[in-house]
Every structure is written in structure tokens, then in C-alpha cells.
Symmetry: none
Subunit: 199 residues, 4 copies
DNA sequence: ACACTCGGGACTGCCCGTTAAT
DNA sequence: ATTAACGGGCAGTCCCGAGTGT
């Protein structure tokens, strides 16, 4: 269903509106009525493109991930302006978990209703995509000699993705907290951890 | 509001029923109507004890965590029947993330609506509790000499909690998946990782 | 669910409004929104009393049947002003099938969605009630000597109910028809038929 | 609109699919989407042949009736293998009311929305067709001397059709019932009744 | 203080039909 | 003559508060 619409104007409008509303009000508060009102589309029109609110959000999810991956590839190609692929990787991964990024909000939103048919598929799709992306990044690093070739790229990528999930959850939980003792594990810690493993 | 009811019969019935229904149907599908029907209580009666569905679930959450921590303490006291405190720690942490445990379901459920007033507090409460528990476990290990005293117990505990969050999310996402290449990171990997860090 | 509300004011208002709206616009066009608007009640209020639109209509159905039966009993008690119990019976039965009576509209409406859970029960309930009413009428006639005691009251009552159903359907089908050749079977034919059987 | 398509392939596919889906899921649950999906036709294509769901179902109705009448004519021609035209008539009429036959489901479905424009016409059409069929059957019986020539064929046919309607409704209501006391009026009773009247 | 009935408002999913484009 | 796109409408579900009685 998602195929073929990619270039459609209203379809893109739908996705963009969803992103904006989610960023503004969160997933749960982004109702179909708001989307209808903002886009000017009717309920039937929306249901012509997506078959549920969840699918819409899932589509937003993948599109965002795609964008992040693209920006990573571009960053690598431009090279040099980053302190090396390693930093790019760290940056790519952390981008996936910024406290209240749309991506994470959607993941949690979907996770909370994975009993609904179809939702699990969306989530697995995302995980697979994220894991392979991380894998390709590490692999690229190994070819270029910046990452120890002995490390199991597969396991390491899974490990990093999981860490990123963990940071996401923790950050969501601690957002707006005192931040005092909470700030004990941050981006740089994540970066160091990675270095330790990839040397 | 939660104080003073702890010993009340109907209050306990409420919690137990909630646990059972969540385990059976998941958080989202556990509606107030079902709880009403199962307990025989009326809507108003329930709201007399808890002021929202979220609070109820939060109460369930902490009660469950309490139970897990107790069982950990007991396990340590009995000692010997486990291969050492380290294994007990790993066990304690993994218990917090078994695929579809009630605890994790509730966490995700709450996380998905942390914009609601009060929910964030519940989550922070949980995180703090989990982190301090992990900290106390590591600390205990260091005193007994099984864990390298040089490691920063604070950071390590945060790290482990995050890893446990990550595994939780990944497992929820991949549940019912082909499990073929998915089984690349499991309990033993977690255990090894811990050993590496704590030596 | 219907028990206990019988005396409630809003509940009665609900039923009465339903009857009126059905009589005016038909079952299908009587939407919940109209009911809400007319009664001034909210959706939640309505669903507090009935658990579906069908149940509401079913409740209307039985209440109407009850009313008809009552009016029959009263007619018999007053006696004399009718040409005898027989005519009263004929009148009672025909009242159940006046072309566009609310009763028949509801029956058809429910019949058209008897696949929905609970609807079948409502219909059986109605049929049973109607059949036993007819039976009691015939029985009463036999005791008073106006009806041949040899006839099987059970069978005859079923027969009459079925005939009444048939007339209902036919009349609904032919309503607004030319009425020319269509008027070949009417109330008096029904009356004669009954006489023939009951002598 | 229905004229001219009779021989068309996709048109026939449409009808057949409708019959099958109705037989499987009932009228109400046979949605346009299902028909689209099963036939592979698009919404526009379907609406090119019929101008509403009701018309489609009406078309199915008449086609089915036609088929029944044909089978009756064939049965009469073969003669002898039946105990006489009378039995054939009874058989023909009862075939029109088998509990959950597609025919009756459609009739009820249409009856429930006879307020819609055009639906009444479809129903009258059906009734007329059924009544004249019954009339011709009785007439045929009188010419062959098996039916008392004194009976008013017109009235009798109307009577029988109505009885058949009544049985249809009753059977639909009582389907899946205890069948204990319900089984008081069945096919043979119907047959006897006919004999009584036609002698 | 405690318990509950009664009522309110919001939202999702679904479905049928029509219009513009080809 | 076939399709994609779109428009509205409706039922059912849910969580919750306001008012009532005890």
C-alpha cells in the first residue's frame, strides 16, 4: 500500500503533517481529526492512503529513518568535516535516540500497541532496518581500517542498537528530571563505550 | 492516596486483578470495564482508590519491582545455590526484561503517555528504584571482592539498566520473529558483557 | 440490563424518543446522533442504559408488544362492544402487522442483522412472546366455547403468527403499490380464514 | 441498466461472486471491498454495471428466482417421479424459504431499507413474480384436475405466498433455537394445509 | 469519609457512493 | 469504460467527572 504513493503530493503532505503534529503534540495527542483539519483531507481520503493510524505513523517512522541514513551517507562522503567515521557512527546512532525525537515517540507508541495486527510487522521492519544500517556502518569502518577487524560486526551492531534503545528509554523516563545525578551517562559515555569495543 | 490502602482487601484485589488481566490481555486491552466486571467493583469505587488508570498500573509496577527485589535479596541470602552474586545480578536484571513480562508492558504503556500529568513521576520513580537496586547489587559485589573495586558502580549500574531497557525493547520488537538471525544477542551475551566490564 | 431501569425517567425518555423517531424516519434513518440530539443525552449516557442500538430497538419492540397485549386484555374485559373474542383476536393479530407499524419495522431491521451477537436472542424472545400470546387468546376462546375445542391450539397459534408474519412482509413489499389487483388479500380474508379453522 | 449485460462475462462473475459471498457471510457482511477483492474489479467498474449495492443484490434475487422457477418447470415435465404436481408446488414454495437461503437473506436485507429509492420497486417486482408463479402452478393443477376448480386460484396463490413468507420469517427467527417445542410447524404441516384448501 | 450511579465527550475504524482524470 | 482519489456519516468503545446517597 505504501508503494506507489511515494511521489504523490497529498501523500507527502500527509506524512509531513503527521511529523509536524507528532513533534508538536506527541503521538497520542495527534488525532485523526487534527490531521484531517490540518491537511484539509477527509477521513475517507486518509484511509485511502493508509489503513490505520498506526500504519501512517509506521510510514512516518521509516521515512524518518531513511532520512537519517541518507544524512549519514552524505556525511561519510563529505568526510573530513567529521573527526572520522567513528564519530559519524556515534552521531548516527545518537540521532536515533534524541530525547523526544519523533522516531522514538513513534516507536514507543507502536510498542504500546503491538497486539494490534500489523503493528508488530512495522516494528520488526524498523528494527531490521536500524540493525542493518548499524551493521553497514561498522562494516564500512572495518574496511577503512578504523575499526578492529576482529570484532563481530553483527553482534556489535545489535549491541549498539540495543544500547541506543536503552538510552532512548532512559532519556524518555528522565526527561525534565533534576538532571543532577541523572546526567551520569550521556553521549560521551556512549562514545567511549563504542571506542572500547571497536578500538 | 496510595498510602493507607496497602492492607485493604478490595485494594489488594484491585492490584491482583490488574496484574492478571494485564498478563492475559496486555495493558491496552485491560479496560476499566473489564476490571469492574472482574472485581465486581463499580467505576466510582475504583476511582476512590486510584485516581486514574495510569496510577493503578503504576502501583502494579512498583509492587512487581518490589517483589523482584525481594526475591533477589532472598537469593543472595541463601547464597551458594547460585554460582555467585554475579549470576544473581544478571538473573535479577534479566528478570526485569523477560519478553512480555507485566513490568515491561506497563513501562511501555506508561512511556507512551508520559505527556499525561503524573505519569512521568511514576516512570522516574521506577527508574530510580531500578537503578539504585542495580547499584546496591554491584556495590555488594565489590564489598565481597567479586567485582573489581575500580569500576564506577554508579556508571556501571546505569549502564546495565540501560542495557536491560534495550534488551526489553528489542525482545518486544522481535517477539514471534523468525528468531534465526535474531538470536544473535541473548542472555549469555548479556552475562559476558557484564563480566567484561566488572572483571 | 433492562431490569431496574424500567421506572427511570431518562430511560423511558430514551424508549419513547426511539419509538417516535422510528415512526417518523424508519429504523435505518434513526441514527444515534438523532437520538442524542432529540433526547439531549450524550452517547455515553445512552450506552449506559443499552449496550447497542439493536438492544435499544429490541427493548422498544418488547415494550410495544406488551402494550398491544395489554390493550387486548382490556378489550376482552370490556367485552360486548366487540362482536366477540374472535374479533378481538383478529384485531390483536392484525395490530401486529399494520403496514408500517413500528413493531414490524423493528423486526425486519433486526432480522436483517441477526448475525450480530445477541440479536437472535431478541428475535426469539419476540416470537415466543407473540406465539404464547396468540395461544392464550385461542385457549381463552375455547374455554368460552366460541372456538372448536378439537383444534390444536398450539399449532393454530403458530399458524396464525406465521400468517401474520406473511401479511406483514407482503404489506411491506406492496406498500404504495397500485393496490388494484394487490388488494386481493386483506383483513377480512384473514378473518374468514381464521373462522374456517376455528369454526 | 441491467439489460444488455446479461451475457457479459464480468457481469456474470459479479453476480456469482455476490451469491457466493452472501451465502458465506450474509448480506450485511458482504461489503463492496470484499466484492472488489474477490472479483478483482475496481469500485468504478462495479458501479459501471450496477448503480448501487442494493441493485446488485436485487439482480441476484431475480436471477435466483428465475433458476427456481426453471427447476420447477423441469420437474413438472419429467412428472411421475414426484407424487404429483401438488408435491411439486409445495416443493417449489418451500424452496423459497429454506432457512438461510440467499433469496430470503436478500429479501430481508432489502426490506430493511425499503426507504431507499428504487428498493421498493425491486421488492414489488419479486413479489409479483413469486405470486404469478404460484398462480400458474395452481392453475396448471386445476386444468389437470388435481386441484378443485372451485378454489379462487388468485386468492389461493396469494395465500400460499404469504404463508411462505411467514415460514421464512419464523424460520429465520428460530434458527438455532432449542427446536423442541419450536418444531411444531414444518414442511408437512404446510403440505397438509395446502391439501385442505385445494382438496 | 466512603461508595456508586449516572452522564459526558472524544476518538477510531469502517463503509458506501461520487467525481475527476484517462 | 476503467481507475484513483476523495467526501461524509455512523456505530462502538473508552476514560473520566459530577452529583447522590450513606
Amino acid at each position: 500500500m505504501m508503494v506507489g504513493f511515494t511521489g504523490n503530493a497529498t501523500y507527502r503532505q500527509l506524512l509531513e503533517t503527521a511529523v509536524r503534529l507528532i513533534a508538536e503534540h506527541g503521538c497520542r495527542n495527534t488525532t485523526l481529526q487534527q490531521i484531517m483539519q490540518t491537511t484539509g483531507l477527509s477521513k475517507g481520503a486518509i484511509y485511502h492512503y493508509v489503513k490505520s493510524k498506526e500504519e501512517l505513523f509506521g510510514l512516518v517512522l521509516t521515512s524518518q529513518v531513511e532520512a537519517i541514513n541518507d544524512s549519514f551517507q552524505r556525511a561519510v562522503e563529505e568526510q573530513g568535516n567529521l573527526t572520522g567515521p567513528l564519530a559519524a557512527i556515534a552521531d548516527g546512532l545518537t540521532k536515533l535516540q534524541e530525547k523526544d525525537s519523533v522516531v522514538n515517540q513513534i516507536i514507543i507508541y507502536l510498542l504500546a500497541q503491538k497486539d494490534k495486527s500489523g503493528v508488530t510487522a512495522l516494528l520488526q521492519q524498523y528494527h531490521e532496518r536500524a540493525a542493518t544500517a548499524a551493521f553497514s556502518w561498522i562494516d564500512m569502518g572495518q574496511r577503512e581500517g578504523v575499526i578492529n577487524p576482529k570484532v563481530d560486526a553483527r553482534k556489535a551492531s545489535e549491541h549498539f542498537v540495543m544500547l541506543s534503545y536503552g538510552m532512548c528509554m532512559r532519556n524518555m523516563m528522565m526527561s525534565e528530571a533534576g538532571e543532577s545525578s541523572a546526567r551520569s551517562f550521556e553521549k560521551e559515555d556512549f562514545y567511549n563505550l563504542m571506542l572500547q569495543h571497536l578500538k
